[in-house]
């Protein structure tokens, strides 16, 4: 009798293409949702708390949620990074938060928190994808 021991042979919780897309969308919309879906509640909690805290701190520090301006490549890149956080980013944009106060001492710190939170969520989405397809 063969014993299933390799990573490739392990049970894959979400290996169908449609499910994978949904998983990645869920992971983008709510940080940690992908891991929660896959039964990694502890990791999901860490991601949710840490990334939401970074987002809230970024706004509290007068950081800016950058608009997508193609004429300003660096601004567009920052906007792409901001957008990585999903629902909090959408809510922030809709509520008019993240106007950014350039004269504030903490403006750049705020931007740093907001941008890094979005980029980290991209990594979290990739991690959830890797777990789902059985790479981890």
């Amino acid at each position: 009798m063969a014993i299933k021991s390799t990573t490739a042979e392990r049970a894959r919780p979400a290996s169908e293409p449609g499910t994978l897309v949904l998983l990645c969308v869920a992971a983008w919309v709510v940080p940690g949702a992908g891991h929660f879906w896959l039964g990694r509640a502890q990791k999901a909690t860490v991601f949710l708390v840490a990334l939401l805290l970074m987002f809230a701190l970024g706004l509290a520090l007068d950081g800016r949620l950058f608009p997508f301006e193609v004429s300003e490549p660096l601004v567009a890149l920052a906007a792409f990074a901001n957008a990585g956080l999903g629902l909090p980013w959408i809510a922030g944009r809709m509520l008019g938060l993240g106007g950014g106060v350039v004269t504030a001492t903490t403006y750049e710190y705020g931007n740093c928190f907001l941008i890094v939170a979005g980029l980290l969520n991209f990594l979290v989405i990739l991690d959830a994808y890797d777990i789902a397809v059985g790479r981890k």
Partner: protein
């Protein structure tokens, strides 16, 4: 909240927590890796800060 050091420490704690959770599986390993990353972040920032202290020359 405009203390540079405090903001640096908060940033380091949060980023270390996410990286540790990404890189390790068990909470114990995550705690160890996160603590090491946090120490690395803060130490590197302080060393770089002192190296840049005489600038601009």
């Amino acid at each position: 909240m405009s203390s540079h050091l405090l903001l640096l420490v908060i940033f380091a704690v949060l980023v270390s927590a996410v990286f540790a959770a990404l890189a390790r599986e068990t909470p114990r390993e995550q705690l160890r890796t996160g603590a090491m990353m946090f120490g690395g972040f803060v130490a590197a920032a302080i060393v770089l800060g002192w190296l840049m202290y005489p600038l601009p020359l």
